[in-house]
Symmetry: C2
Subunit: 377 residues, 2 copies
Amino acid sequence: MIFKVEKKDTKSNARTGEIRTDRGLIKTPIFMPVGTLGSVKGVHQTELEHDIKAQIILGNTYHLYLRPGLDVLKQAGGLHKFMNWNKPILTDSGGFQVFSLSENRKLSEKGAAFSSHIDGSKHLFTPENVIDTQRIIGSDIMMVLDECTPYPCDFDYARKSLNLTHNWLKRAMAHYKNTDNLYGCSQTLFPIVQGSVYTDLRKKSAETIASYNAEGNAIGGLSVGEPVEDMYEMLEVVNNILPEDKPRYLMGVGTPANILEGIALGTDMFDCVMPSRNGRNGMLFTKEGIINIKNQRWKTDFSAIEENGASFVDRQYSKAYLRHLFVANERLAAQIASIHNLAFYLWLVKEARNKIETGEFSSWKNIMVKKLMERIK
Amino acid sequence: MIFKVEKKDTKSNARTGEIRTDRGLIKTPIFMPVGTLGSVKGVHQTELEHDIKAQIILGNTYHLYLRPGLDVLKQAGGLHKFMNWNKPILTDSGGFQVFSLSENRKLSEKGAAFSSHIDGSKHLFTPENVIDTQRIIGSDIMMVLDECTPYPCDFDYARKSLNLTHNWLKRAMAHYKNTDNLYGCSQTLFPIVQGSVYTDLRKKSAETIASYNAEGNAIGGLSVGEPVEDMYEMLEVVNNILPEDKPRYLMGVGTPANILEGIALGTDMFDCVMPSRNGRNGMLFTKEGIINIKNQRWKTDFSAIEENGASFVDRQYSKAYLRHLFVANERLAAQIASIHNLAFYLWLVKEARNKIETGEFSSWKNIMVKKLMERIK
């Protein structure tokens, strides 16, 4: 994996760049749609590529490990072939879902033991075996096992947790070096900065992570309930330490405003379920603000979902029609909203790129962060 | 609406033809995907047109009347504009759903009174107002209000019901003549043959219907539980009476084999929820027979869903991937299966057309009706 910074903004830490992987180029800053189980919910792979214009998607190791399972993925020749997606895939380590979904989970130096949320079967994720699993999935960008601390989290817990995360990291990096790429494509491994909302811990973690000189670095444990100012503060602290010549990936974030602020703070990669999940519930992100398409006010608004919207659904369907589909609980509703929101997120990061290139990023960003989060009644 | 028979099969009553409507040409025999609430479930309109290759779709008056309602549809300029579908639409009268879905329904000479299955609100469908409703929907082909008798149904009930249906028919035809097309396109009205499984009643009904010299005629009340031989017998009786130079539409039928037998008996139009509904449950219709894609046997079968299948999903996704999506309850599963099955049904009627044209229909049909209904374990 090769990362190259292309253009730096003069008024913020924003930058454009490109990540070269064996499965294609990623122009940064980039948003990665989440395809939990080998499918971005309600979206065909052709739509993902041609309408949403995704350059890289995310898969969840916890879910893929349980279903379809490693035997199937291995026989398929990896997730790319299995789902017929030829561009890059990033996978998380599975740790986050162990904490949020599984039962009877127990953390120890050894790893994370848990019972499957599907059938109760017992499993153990270790720093080593989640790399083996991600190798089999065929991820282009793999993540280390870490503990994502909850919020609020007292300092003592956060400090102990960070030690565990760093101990796991050491083993992960060693194991990564001792294992080979699968399916003929290069697989890289990103370490993850943790440390909750404590500046000292975040600094220590970022320094530790930076010392490994990985091809890219991730920031985890943010947007878990803390005030948004704390998130930006931690991000600033961390990004000042993480190497400038490596991509920085802010995990699981966030709203359109969060993404623009994240870019301004020098972050290059983002993923979040928000555009697809909130879309399925009728929340549309647009250039003019947020629409709750279920509202009565759209009942006879036959205008396009979004004038000059980023995908075909914006032109083909009206607000009134989409509202009707939501009210009538039709499957097509979630499909349209998912494509709309994901195409909007990809448009947003592309537009941020353009603005960084033309030197207009900061002023544009300040206008957009307000406008994008306004609710159009 | 103009119908022209093009080619007649010499060994059966099958024929090819074309229906010209103000919204485009329909090559018969044809299958019409069901878009109950202004959406073929899980399928984008672009997919319906370009991948499934639908030439006409069906809407359900009962559902559309309740949601989005006539005020919305009228303001939208009709269903075509509302859902952005420019090809022909056929609507039923709403009677069938009154009997199968609504509460507290009561039939009388006046019409069908019922309470909405959504909010319990009270409504009355009459032979006249269901035409007004279909005018507002903007249907290219409208249906008369009738009673679809259940199965089994004793002769006395069937006879009385038929009288009611014929009385309603008379009023419907009169009202149709006294009302105008909406939205600048011609709207035609099909009467419906009823009579349960009683030859005498079916004959009488077909003669009554034929006497109105409508632009097309429908056959209802079949495939409601009766033995398939009874259905074919009734269809033969009726089609021998209904005028040859008008399209014959067998309502709500059926399996691929039913459709081929229906074509052999001189039927031109079909609709059914089976391809989409059964698809959503994992049943795939293919040229080689029926697949239950949820079966364990497909777990690691990475071959295409159907070699030389009729749509892009067949080439883009494997059986193992589709099985995984069903097992994991992913939305994309139903989307893929719906497109596959509907494209298969449209392929089937197109192939029937080709075989009628080349004189091979009967022999081909006899092979296909067996093969198509075999279950590939």
